[in-house]
């Protein structure tokens, strides 16, 4: 489900079935990395929407968590988000990003960080891009299914 009025209506009616939150993490920068952050934004937007489409009934896709690359308290801020989500009875929180910086914080985040290198989609034919995204989605869905199966019942 997406963060739209219609989907949230659906969420409120079937809360007990939705136990997973997905938060895409996208950096912003006005310096040398500016273009890369653009690529990441494009890639993660499409990827997270595709994942949401496949797993609509169990995943709530939160609006993207944006931060500036050199922002000091981004880790604290993200932790705040995650805590808020957990307090609202979500058992699984997945963080999806292409920014390598988060890999260093993985231990501290205690969540399922899915790091996936961004494919620069702007140079690809639409068919190719779709195919590549589909493959990535399948892999990520595997991670999700694995986590769901291993939860304590």
């Amino acid at each position: 489900m997406k963060w739209t009025a219609k989907d949230l209506d659906m969420y409120m009616q079937s809360k007990e079935y939705v136990d997973t939150v997905l938060i895409p993490l996208v950096p912003l920068s006005f310096k040398g990395q500016m273009k890369q952050t653009g690529s990441m934004n494009e890639f993660l937007t499409i990827l997270s929407l595709e994942i949401e489409k496949q797993m609509k009934g169990r995943i709530l896709l939160l609006p993207t968590f944006h931060y500036f690359s050199d922002e000091m308290d981004k880790v604290e801020r993200l932790k705040g988000w995650v805590n808020e989500v957990k307090e609202n009875k979500f058992e699984h929180v997945f963080l999806l990003t292409s920014d390598f910086e988060w890999k260093k914080e993985e231990r501290e985040l205690e969540n399922n960080l899915v790091w996936i290198p961004a494919i620069p989609l702007e140079g690809l034919e639409i068919e190719q891009a779709r195919e590549m995204i589909n493959q990535q989605v399948l892999q990520i869905l595997d991670i999700f299914s694995y986590n769901w199966k291993n939860e304590k019942k």
Binding site: Y17, Q54, R58, R130
Partner: protein
Amino acid sequence: MSKHNVSRRQFLNYTLTGVGGFMAAGMLMPMVRFAIDPVLSADKGGDYVATKQKVGELTTEPTRVDFSFKQVDGWYESEETNTAWVYKTDDGKIVALSPICKHLGCTVGWNTDKTNPNQFFCPCHYGRYTKDGMNVKGTPPVSPLDVFDTKEKDGILYLGQLKPHGEA
């Protein structure tokens, strides 16, 4: 000067008739257009979308068929990709099922649950459907998978409207 002089009265008559005619036409045209509109509008219900699937290559095993179409989504038009699970029944009839789970809208896969082979399986809440799209009792979905209208043209599979099971 030409020999045939136009009098002031004639000149005014001509211009008034001309302008008046234009105005009348400007008013009448939209009215006529509205009146016959139902005749001109295309029949939306009969829209079939071509897939890349050759009908001859279909088997009794459900295959994933992707197809794309233009969708107007409130603000902008986008190219939407959709999927169907298509197979032939034993007597050669083509069945195209929607992959959208009737429970909460996840995408179902064919034969992806190892403990329940030859069924459609929804990974979200482990809902299951038999091959003909009927929901398995005891799993979350409460109704069978929707069915696409199908059509064959030049050996290519065309998919049409999505309908509840049993109405296609």
